[in-house]
Amino acid sequence: MVIKILAFGMLNGILPEEITFQNEGVDLELFRAYLIENYPSITQYSYSIAVNHAIVNQNTELKNGDVIALMPPFSGG
């Protein structure tokens, strides 16, 4: 299955635009662990995660074609 990634702010450029998993049944926790293992520099940033069009705070099943956005907080004004 293919998961598309939108990386905002400081995370832009660190992550690829999509990741392909051989198996189905990847959930958000697994996906997050995969990112940290393969792109460890993201751990220096705080960020929230949205699946498709909603910001999520709990683990959730992912399906082929889901879009995951990672958004760090901005402070500038």
Binding site: G9, N12, S48, N57, A69, P73, F74, S75, G77
Partner: protein, 346 residues
């Protein structure tokens, strides 16, 4: 516009008259909001002029809110504009926000953002937030007053220095204008909508792309929000965002050019620190307006043993909430101070 009357009758508070606050003020005036409050304790400086279009060269040194009021009074004849020439603090936040129906957070630092979000949550005031970083911006609409606002998205403040030290001077005016416009257009939509919802918008200037997300309740955000005004008044947003005020010499990256070692000892006190980035200013000089350290993001205050510097660090944190200010433990006499390391030949 069928809801024009509602918009016109609402009282709106704008906190921060910077890159985002300027377009927000002008557009709220244009859409007919007739009662506006403006909070900012800052004065106009030269670096503001490129994107804070309410100000001109002649205004340098004047209070931002006074210049903004003059501009609005000249352009519009039916707007009641109340100005607060002070920064929003724990002490004045509740009283000021309470008098308004809607709040626009246009500040430039995390301690203020969390403080404003918590205050609006407690007082149940819908909040519109705008923030920028580089060529991207964020807009938050918190219309559902039974939520934890900003803490539903980011339950705890970021503690990464990389986020805090991002360079804001390169933010182009078309970005801050766009973010201000998005905030005001969502404010107008608020009146058209029957449902009260919270949403997040990310805008990328380079691609001119907008992404919008729904914000759902977040248990952790709820837990981290003060539940009473008493709890709110006991919060320390500086420590929540920047951590403790004290720091060890070993934790300071002395090769970083964006730091200032602020030596507050009296002029006759020696020996002098001979590393780069050292600025010697006494507390008197700082209080009388010498702020040559403000071009750096991280400020490390040192004295002989780290006692006087702690007071100065607390003072600087309250006056400059967007700066990371620390007091260095042990001062120049600490075993790990550059002075002692040098003497030991390391």
């Amino acid at each position: 516009m069928e809801n024009y009357q509602d918009i016109s009758n609402s009282k709106v508070l704008i906190i921060g008259v910077g890159g985002i606050g300027c377009p927000v003020l002008e557009q709220l005036a244009k859409v007919g909001v007739s009662k506006i409050g403006l909070v900012d304790g800052d004065i106009v400086s030269e670096s503001n002029l490129n994107r804070q279009f309410l100000f001109s060269v002649n205004d340098i040194g004047s209070a931002k809110v006074d210049v903004a009021k003059k501009y609005i009074d000249n352009q519009f004849n039916d707007i009641e504009l109340e100005v607060y020439n002070q920064f929003l603090t724990l002490e004045n936040a509740i009283e000021i926000i309470r008098a308004y129906d809607f709040v626009f957070d246009c500040t430039d630092n995390f301690p203020s953002r969390y403080m404003i979000s918590d205050a609006c949550t407690l007082l149940k005031k819908p909040l519109f937030m705008g923030a920028v970083n580089g060529l991207e911006g964020q807009v938050f609409q918190f219309s559902n007053i039974d939520s934890s606002f900003y803490r539903d998205v980011f339950p705890t403040p970021p503690n990464s220095r990389d986020i805090l030290t991002c360079n804001q001077s390169n933010v182009p005016p078309e970005l801050t204008n766009k973010i201000g416009t998005l905030m005001v257009s969502n404010f107008i939509k608020h009146f058209d909508s029957i449902n009260e919802y919270n949403l997040f918008i990310n805008y990328q200037l380079e691609k001119n792309e907008i992404y919008q997300f729904d914000i759902l309740a977040n248990q952790k955000g709820y837990e981290n929000t003060p539940k009473t005004i008493g709890q709110f008044l006991k919060s320390n947003y500086q420590i929540q965002c920047f951590g403790n005020t004290t720091i060890n010499w070993q934790e300071i990256d002395l090769d970083n050019h964006d730091i200032c070692i602020l030596d507050i000892r009296e002029k006759h006190e020696g020996p002098a620190l001979t590393i780069n980035q050292v600025l010697r200013l006494t507390f008197d000089e700082i209080q009388t307006g010498n702020d040559d350290f403000l071009n750096k993001n991280e400020i490390y205050v040192v004295c002989d043993f780290g006692n006087r510097s702690l007071n100065v660090a607390h003072y600087l944190r309250s006056v400059f909430p967007n700066k990371m200010v620390f007091s260095v433990l042990g001062g120049v006499n600490d075993a790990f101070s550059p002075l002692n390391l040098k003497q030991h030949g390391s």
